[in-house]
Symmetry: C2
Subunit: 150 residues, 2 copies
Amino acid sequence: MENASERTSVGAAPPPAHPRPEGQDRYAISEVAAFTGLTAHTLRWYERIGLMPHVDRSHTGQRRFTNRDLDWLGFVGKLRLTGMPVADMVRYAELLREGEHTFEARQELLEATRRDVRTRIAELQDTLAVLDFKIEFYAGARRVPERPSA
Amino acid sequence: MENASERTSVGAAPPPAHPRPEGQDRYAISEVAAFTGLTAHTLRWYERIGLMPHVDRSHTGQRRFTNRDLDWLGFVGKLRLTGMPVADMVRYAELLREGEHTFEARQELLEATRRDVRTRIAELQDTLAVLDFKIEFYAGARRVPERPSA
DNA sequence: TAGAACCTTCGAGTGCACTCGAAGCAAGCG
DNA sequence: CGCTTGCTTCGAGTGCACTCGAAGGTTCTA
């Protein structure tokens, strides 16, 4: 259950993500800020709004992030790139916290997200085609400049 | 120069875009709003901030958008999808207004944009891979449920 | 000729995702 | 022991891209 290839905690964890330096499992908030590029402020804010599936604390109350948390933050970072609203990510985090009986809901949510991402990719490829077209036009215009005198 | 396959005005115009209904060339603001999904407010705002390369007016001062303007708005819509800040689009619009000697600058701007778009696509594809992985995990977990009793 | 659509200018409001600072205190480390 | 880091709560500020409304007027269309 510890080294199983699937740790369900973060809903399964693919490749790492951010530069994961040390080989341990209890990071201070400043370290996490450094690895992720987020500020401590933002990390606390994520927790406040329910975007972090329970962060551990030291016996004196200081946050101790685990590698799992870093995985999660990596995933959140990816979702952010897709333009997914934070509220939706919070929803997914809630499902995780609620346990196994939310598997189906989680899967559906991920599938919906995947559809969105595919749509966004298609849109961007469309845009890319337009850009290619215009760039090609400019390139052509410059190959045949305005009647070189003589 | 009129039916040339390249009308340089919008920096070359690829396929149309939004539902282009009528066959004419002078649209009222309400029509443009309907075609593009933007509000009249937003269209006037675009003009104010310099995002429209000069919109025609009727002899009484009402805006008369042309097909070219619609093409431009279509292009702007695409750029918006890429997350390009409005200020950058304004920059491109400025270059257009400044005439032929900005060809090179325009081309460079478009090329930089294209690089961005490609990067975004790569990021999204990365995200897609993560989503695929997780969805696959959930699908697997559901195929092998938690020890069916009996 | 009435009502709808347009114009201008001005300025305030919205939603999102942070982002920051301050106050007042507890803990870690060198 | 002192300095850095961390904790909490609170609340204000930022940047972007709209978005809306109102006032006061002109123009268009049926």
